[in-house]
């Protein structure tokens, strides 16, 4: 265990080893480790952000759903009201129409009745005149005859 030249050899090889390590070994390994650390940190941050986004989206979706439900209920209510009003209107119109038709029919019947009565009266008068003409024949003049017919017609 004497100190000899070995100590210098040792120092030289140590210097070479440290140089080699500093040149080719330490930087790539440490850089890779730092880069991975950064990647993992980024990944965790992204996951946090995604969770927050998801929560927000869920809130928004629930809000949207509630709104849609409210809107749908409104639409149903409105359409029901509209249907009722249409129904009422139709009913009222139908009633009105029926009334109108009834009135027209009654008027028609009245008119027909009057016309028939008039016709009947004329026919009866003529029959009476014809009968009387046959009974009286020559005894009554033409003028007196027409007078008689007129008075009879007025009486009927």
């Amino acid at each position: 265990m004497n100190i000899n030249l070995t100590i210098l050899g040792q120092m030289v090889s140590f210097a070479i080893f440290v140089w080699f390590c500093a040149r080719y070994i330490w930087p790539p390994i440490v850089n890779a480790m730092q880069e991975r650390e950064k990647k993992i940190a980024d990944g965790l941050a992204a996951a946090d952000r995604a969770t927050r986004d998801l929560e927000l989206a869920q809130d928004r979706a629930a809000e949207r759903l509630k709104e849609a439900k409210r809107e749908a209920a409104g639409i149903v209510e409105q359409s029901r009201r509209q249907a009722n009003s249409v129904l009422d209107e139709a009913k009222a119109k139908a009633l009105e129409e029926a009334e109108r038709i009834k009135v027209a029919a009654e008027a028609e019947i009245e008119r027909e009745f009057n016309r028939a009565r008039e016709e009947l009266r004329n026919k009866v008068a003529m029959l009476v005149v014809a009968g009387a003409e046959q009974i009286l024949q020559r005894e009554v003049g033409e003028a007196a005859n027409s007078e008689l017919v007129d008075s009879l017609t007025a009486q009927l």
């Binding site: 000899n4 100590i7 050899g9 140590f14």
Partner: protein, 276 residues
């Protein structure tokens, strides 16, 4: 067992603690030392081939493994090997973040290299003590010390490198004057500058020495105990070597960790600009 094959326990231990040394012999020829005396004669101008070989191979193993993963690194889901590497890097990086608040491109690779390299060198301690030296002996290699961090050259080499970095960054961050001021004016104010300088110099120099010797001492002692256990009869060895190995796993990791932490702390101190 060496003791069973005739050699004394002392020789066995000393054989295991001797490095394979290449150096200049007294007669001027270069070669591998075959005894401790020869090594002593070689003095400073010698190289421990086993130490340097194992430490460089382990360091290269570390770099190859990490580089292989670094080239295929993905920011997506990591594979099994990438996971292991990333765990190691993150462990080192967390320690740096908690202790080193300044901005530096050097500290990360430095701490990672120190931690993994020292850990790998310490792990060699768990290889059975006789396995590699015996195999080496069969191929004619006289000595082989397997654990690089039980060689004071390795630990002090690392500690001295850290010390040079401390000096470099101190001067870079504070300027030569600022660094000198920190050494001279610190504990007792400007009047007692010489005393301050002595105290602060001791503090400064104690850093690399304690750093290097702590690792050396722990691993040397651990290896020594494995060697002593290997002296027992073969059928009883496991009762001691298994518990010690399990306990030693802790020491292996702990010493690598301490070396790294102290490196970071010392450099953090070098970067800190104090107010005067």
């Amino acid at each position: 067992m060496a003791s069973e094959s005739g050699a004394s326990s002392g020789e066995y231990i000393s054989h295991h603690l001797t490095n394979l040394t290449l150096g200049q012999r007294p007669d001027g020829s270069w070669g591998i030392a075959h005894s401790n005396e020869e090594i002593a004669q070689m003095g400073f101008w010698a190289i421990n081939l086993d130490t340097l070989g194992f430490s460089v191979v382990l360091g290269a193993l570390f770099l190859l493994l990490f580089h292989w993963v670094a080239r295929r690194v993905t920011t997506g889901v990591p594979g099994r090997s990438q996971n292991l590497i990333e765990m190691t890097v993150e462990f080192v990086n967390n320690n740096i973040k908690s202790m080193f608040t300044h901005d530096s491109k050097t500290i990360g690779p430095l701490a990672l290299t120190v931690f993994v390299w020292v850990l790998l060198m310490n792990v060699m301690d768990l290889v059975p003590v006789d396995l590699l030296p015996r195999l080496a002996e069969l191929t004619g290699v006289p000595y082989l010390k397997v654990v690089p961090s039980t060689d004071v050259n390795v630990t002090m080499g690392l500690a001295l490198s850290v010390f040079l970095l401390i000096l470099f960054f101190s001067v870079k961050q504070k300027g030569a004057g600022g660094f000198a001021a920190e050494l001279c004016f610190h504990p007792f104010g400007k009047i007692a500058a010489p005393i301050n300088f002595i105290l602060e110099s001791v503090t400064l120099i104690a850093k690399p020495i304690s750093l290097g010797l702590r690792l050396f001492g722990n691993l040397y002692a651990g290896e020594m105990i494995f060697i002593l256990i290997a002296l027992l009869p073969w059928w009883i060895q496991w009762t001691l070597s298994v518990p010690w190995a399990i306990f030693h796993i802790l020491i292996i990791f702990l010493q690598a960790f301490i070396f790294m932490v102290l490196t970071i702390v010392y450099l953090a101190m070098a970067f800190a600009v104090e107010e005067h």
